[in-house]
């Protein structure tokens, strides 16, 4: 088991290095930071001075080492537009995005796993067909289209929820949830479709195993067999797909926050695109990629607990 954990930890290192190199190169391609900082009317000497101060005249490898060093210390650079540290901007905006992510993941799991189980239990029958059709639709309707349909349905035609905006959790759970239900649902449906499909496929594999027949033969109730025995054994692919879906969630958050005017990291990114504020975009990418790698590492490590077989490999 220790071997497995160590192997997984070591395997994360090259991924982190590649992400860092890619983001660093993107930042360098974004143009000469010195001329941006110096402003439009700067002389060549002034630019050269700034280049020297920022270490931009050093070899690329030295620059990369310095850059990584400051990233590792939480220094993500300074926004070109607002002149505030990117790390500070991120901290200001992370609350709404984190709330949205939590609501989305909870909704996606609550919708996805039971639908997948239902589809597997009623395989090739009506519930299965209906759920799988909904899953294909869930994959196909882009989240922002779905978002507008939900707004039209539950905020305009039948106004039971706010059209847009965000209320911090500190001002009460209900107002907070009221603002997050529609965006969370719009984001969660694709994710739930993915989880439902995987749950169904994984459960079908497990239900064909000998020990399930044994469990049935010894007189366990069908629901005990499915929900306790089979689902536990099917949990590894389900956990994996939940981890992979985080990438989906991040991409979706950028759009959903725009649609619902939620002042989170997605909104920060979209504003940064309009202002060509590359340090901010870079900071958000680093943060989200880091979270993605970390969550997937944790999920891989959870296999040791979900599936005893992993412990001995």
């Amino acid at each position: 088991m220790l071997g497995y954990v160590l192997r997984r930890l070591v395997a994360t290192i090259p991924v982190v290095i590649v992400v860092a190199v890619v983001v660093f190169l993107l930042a360098r391609l974004a143009g000469d930071p010195a001329s941006v900082i110096a402003g439009e009317n700067a002389t060549a000497e002034q630019i050269a001075q700034i280049r020297n101060r920022l270490g931009l005249d050093q070899p690329l490898l030295v620059q990369f080492a310095r850059w990584s060093w400051s990233i590792a210390h939480g220094d993500l650079g300074v926004s070109i537009f607002t002149n505030t540290p990117v790390a500070q901007l991120i901290v200001q905006r992370i609350g709404p995005t984190f709330s949205l992510a939590v609501v989305t993941i909870v909704l996606a799991i609550l919708l996805g796993i039971p639908s997948g189980v239902l589809a597997a239990v009623f395989v090739r029958r009506v519930p299965d067909r209906v759920i799988m059709m909904l899953a294909v639709a869930g994959f196909s309707i882009p989240i922002f289209v779905l978002a507008y349909l939900l707004i039209l349905g539950f905020a305009i035609s039948w106004p039971i929820l706010p059209v847009q905006g965000y209320t911090p959790l500190a001002r009460g759970v209900l107002p907070w949830l009221g603002n997050l239900i529609l965006p969370g649902l719009a984001l969660a449906l694709v994710y739930a479709a993915l989880i439902a499909r995987t749950t169904r496929a994984a459960l079908l594999d497990v239900l064909a195993e000998d020990y399930i027949r044994t469990a049935r033969a010894k007189g366990l109730l069908p629901r005990e067999v499915v929900w306790l025995h089979a689902l536990k054994a099917a949990s590894v692919p389900i956990a994996t797909v939940i981890g992979i879906g985080i990438a989906l969630l991040v991409g979706g958050a950028v759009v959903i926050e725009t649609v619902f005017a939620i002042p989170g990291l997605g909104r920060l990114t979209v504003d940064a695109i309009a202002r060509r504020d590359f340090p901010v975009i870079q900071g958000v990418i680093l943060l989200f990629s880091g979270i993605y790698v970390l969550i997937n590492l944790l999920i891989d490590l959870s296999y040791t607990w979900l599936d005893p077989r992993v412990r001995f490999t």
């Binding site: 090259p14 991924v15 982190v16 290095i17 590649v18 992400v19 190199v21 890619v22 983001v23 993107l26 391609l29 974004a30 395989v123 090739r124 294909v136 639709a137 994959f139 196909s140 309707i141 882009p142 922002f144 289209v145 507008y148 349909l149 707004i151 039209l152 305009i156 059209v163 496929a201 079908l204 594999d205 990438a247 989906l248 991040v250 991409g251 950028v254 759009v255 725009t258 649609v259 990114t269 979209v270 940064a272 695109i273 309009a274 060509r276 590359f278 975009i281 870079q282 958000v284 990418i285 989200f288 990629s289 993605y292 790698v293 997937n296």
Partner: protein, 292 residues
């Protein structure tokens, strides 16, 4: 008991087999028909659109759908029906080009990785790293570096999609290299290129074709998202994403401005996904049986 039901299954399969191909795979047929219509819309846009999609008419702003303006007009008085038709062009071009480029490049890199251990080790680490960056953010970053243009959007999406194809292609090559028929071919003296073109590639076509349909669908969504948040095709080009971005400010009074392009995009993507799922069942019976 088990044998009886197996026999029944065989009988059913037999009856199903005798139907013509288009009836045996209804999802493929339906997907192809819808996609055919969308492509026809895109190609015939200049003839189907009665009004210039960029013509402004301040006197006729925000008109509801009518016989004159089928989908109404937007806040600048432009004809939404014409813009939707021209928007189909952007989506179709993006979907097809990205699918072709990403599959082609991905296959090439995947083959390299599948045949050489050193390349494999290095390339797969790079691909793992690229896949850790959420695809939309990677595309956004690439678009932030360049000018807004359809070509740049396509390149940005291809870069974000390629790692997944490389993974798939490499996996196929590694599995096939272990297969008995490949071993037999090697033993009987088949050269590298014979092995590649006669044994490996023909067996890699089916899964890659299926994958490329999903890439086309995801590319269309990504293009619309990029355009919607202002990092896609220039706002002067009518695209479904641009139209939704412009319509969102007046969504409460004229929801059709967002919903018409949005529903067109959804139906197109649904058709591609149906085609993809159908092709998967058709081309890969093993996987189909597992997924059914």
């Amino acid at each position: 008991m088990a044998t009886a039901s197996a026999l029944d299954d065989d009988a059913v399969t037999h009856a199903v087999r005798r139907r013509p191909a288009w009836r045996r795979h209804p999802t493929v047929t339906a997907g192809l028909i819808i996609l055919g219509l969308v492509c026809a819309m895109a190609i015939a846009a200049p003839w189907l659109a009665s009004i210039d999609p960029t013509a402004l008419s301040t006197a006729k702003r925000l008109r509801p759908p009518s016989p004159e303006f089928w989908f109404g007009t937007d806040m600048m008085g432009r004809d939404v029906w014409s813009r939707t038709l021209y928007g189909a062009r952007v989506s179709v071009i993006t979907g097809l080009t990205v699918a072709a480029l990403a599959t082609g490049i991905g296959l090439l890199l995947g083959l390299l990785a599948g045949f050489d251990r050193t390349i494999d080790a290095v390339m797969m680490r790079i691909m793992d790293g690229l896949m850790a960056i959420p695809a939309i953010l990677l595309a956004i970053a690439l678009m932030a570096l360049t000018r807004a243009s359809l070509g740049n959007v396509i390149i940005a999406i291809v870069v974000a999609e390629v790692p997944r194809v490389v993974r798939l292609a490499r996996g196929i090559v590694l599995t096939l290299r272990e297969a008995t028929f490949v071993e037999a071919a090697t033993a009987s003296g088949t050269g590298f290129f014979g092995l590649l073109f006669r044994h490996i590639l023909p067996n890699a076509v089916a899964p890659l074709v299926v994958q490329s349909t999903y890439i086309a669908a995801s590319a269309m969504i990504t293009e619309a998202i990029l355009s919607f948040i202002g990092a896609g095709v220039p706002s002067s080009t009518p695209s479904w994403g641009n139209m939704m971005a412009e319509g969102r400010t007046v969504f409460q009074v004229a929801p059709q401005l967002v919903l018409f392009p949005g529903l067109c995009l959804s139906v197109t993507v649904l058709a591609i996904n149906m085609l993809g799922d159908g092709l998967r069942d058709m081309l890969d019976p093993r996987l189909a049986r597992r997924m059914k």
